[in-house]
């Protein structure tokens, strides 16, 4: 008990340990620790049970294919040959595209809303952006099919004519593609990055800004060199959340990605993602091996998410050491 932190000053013990315990209990320390510990434990337990179940139910597939499941490129439900690589590739490529498009746009918008926009405009725009987060993914997917793809079909081929010597822009463009899925995902993660980053930037203490301005910094220098570095951890947090969201997104991706399990070097070619294939095939999957392979894909997605998230955290930590704030 003595190891537990206490926020209140303990007066000299008069009634022994029991009295001190009751006093602390009244003050709420023990209860608060117990309740918050249980909350944390619940979340961890749910995750652990989830991983355990994925692991257990994928046993038949893991035994049948071993590690080659991760590097095999054939997905053939008829002959019972399953490999995850095209789906891993598609998930990573669409997520990377979403982050490349979404991070600059999202952070830029957050800086504008928090630092530069008049307060009334800022709060009303933020409200609209948070509404975007509430749009169901199937609606975003439909917008992707019926609004975005026709526009991309006008824009992409002329650009391709100029850039087709670069492998990632080569090949015919059908509208549905890894690139399209990346753009749709970018739209879906923007509200997360913008609304969280804006809150974090708004919570930067004003004396930071005043100090920088007093030293003769311009408004932009203050924002970019003082406020944003101060809020860096919170902004990074919003990006991690967006990353997880992008990797796990299912419905909107499957509607625009083309659902073709091949590893294409061109971003304009159709692809497939892990979450999309699980959603597409699970309902009609018959046979233990087929189901096991789909469940193993879920396990793989979990692993890929941990690896990518871990790599992103390492990246942030390494920049923090170099940081000056």
């Amino acid at each position: 008990m003595s190891a537990l932190p206490s926020a209140i000053d303990t007066p000299p013990a008069s009634g022994g340990a029991a009295a001190a315990f009751w006093k602390r209990l009244r003050a709420g320390d023990e209860i608060a620790i117990a309740v918050t510990f249980l909350s944390a434990l619940t979340v961890i337990l749910v995750t652990a049970v989830l991983v355990f179940e994925l692991y257990r139910k994928s046993a038949i597939s893991r035994h049948a294919f071993g590690w080659s499941f991760l590097i095999s490129t054939t997905w053939d439900p008829v002959s019972g040959t399953f490999g995850a690589l095209p789906f891993i590739y598609g998930t990573l490529v669409t997520t990377a595209l979403a982050m490349i498009i979404g991070i600059p746009l999202g952070v830029g918008a957050a800086i504008f809303l928090a630092e530069l926009a008049p307060p009334l405009l800022s709060s009303s725009l933020s409200f609209l952006i948070e509404l975007l987060a509430a749009v169901p993914s199937v609606i975003i997917g439909l917008l992707g099919i019926f609004v975005m793809i026709p526009i991309l079909q006008q824009i992409v081929p002329p650009v391709q004519d100029k850039l087709s010597w670069i492998p990632i822009f080569s090949g015919p463009f059908y509208g549905v593609s890894l690139f399209t899925a990346g753009v749709v995902l970018a739209i879906m993660i923007l509200p997360f990055i913008i609304s969280i980053s804006r809150e974090v930037i708004l919570s930067v203490p004003n004396d930071q800004r005043e100090g920088a301005l007093a030293l003769g910094a311009t408004r932009w220098e203050t924002t970019w060199k003082v406020v944003v570095p101060y809020a860096r951890k919170g902004i990074a947090g919003s990006i991690f959340l967006a990353l997880a969201r992008a990797m796990g997104e299912t419905m909107a991706v499957t509607m625009v990605v083309g659902n073709d399990p091949k590893i294409a070097h061109s971003l304009m070619a159709p692809g497939y993602s892990i979450a999309a294939v699980i959603a597409n095939e699970f309902a009609e999957a018959t046979g233990d091996l087929y189901q096991g392979a789909l469940i193993e894909l879920g396990l793989v997605l979990f692993g890929v998410t941990i690896l990518v998230n871990g790599a992103a955290r390492l990246l942030v930590m390494s920049t923090e050491k170099k940081g000056t704030s």
Partner: protein, 343 residues
Amino acid sequence: MTSRVHRVLAVLLAAGCASAALAQQLLINGAGATFPYPIYSKWFDEYHKKFPNISFNYQSIGSGGGIQQITAGTVDFGASDGPMNDKQIQEFKAKRGSDILHFPTVLGADVPVYNIRGVTAQLNFTPEALAGIFLGKITKWNDPAIAGPNPGVNLPNAPIVVVHRSEGSGTTYCWTDYLSKISKEWETKVGRGTSVNWPVGLGGKGNEGVSGQVKQVNNTLGYVELIYAVQNKMTYGKVKNAAGQFLAASLEGVTAAAGSVKDMPADFRVSITDAPGKAAYPISTFTWLLVPNKIADPARKKAIVDFLHWMLTTGQTMASALDYAPLPKTVVAKEEKAIAKIM
């Protein structure tokens, strides 16, 4: 005083009657195929109106889910667009200790849909052309295999973009079953299934996803359910059947395909793709109800048996209005006999 006693008695009696009626209320649970869901919900609704004490609850979770749930014993009947295979039947017998019966209910069909710039004609497709295109061997619209049966149509020298279903579905089973029958190469390389390893093509989610991609991309060829094509007024191609006739899919052609099957097996597990009749549309399929042959609860058994009889008579007359092809009379007569197997 007596009037008060009477009143109390009357209330008690009324409550008793109500609870008796409630006790007789029977809920039959089913799950499975999505393709026949509109007609099934119509049937269950009409049947409930006629027999208010029997109601059906049908979850359209997909054929695979229907087979799993009936095998697990969580529903009273399953429904599937593809028959259960021998392995699945063995598993059912091992788990439930009884046999499973297949009852065809209505018929469906797949049609080829396309969008070729500058072509409005209804195209003729030979089995060889369809197999070649889906295998990725015929890659241009002006290939002789396509142009040959379409004299007078100016087909472009453009690559064919194939569109197929991305999610597991009975529609895909029917299409790949047909391709497996007419092409040895398809059968060995790809095979039949609700999801397959497609040699070429883009995947669209659902009939609407396939038709959307066919409409949006030039020079595409895909397949959708006949009902979907009819209700959305899409033009679809004619397909050459086993008797050498080019036929556009129609409810009559689909029923004819079911009627032209020789040697209908006793368990109705039969594929009617590439059926022999002259009027038979070749890419047709039954959809089945899956019912265990032993039902312990007599009330439940009676309700299911009665419903099957009703489905084969009154129910069939409702099919065409919802664009489903009704069963041919020969199959109905055979099924009436098969219902007796339910013990």
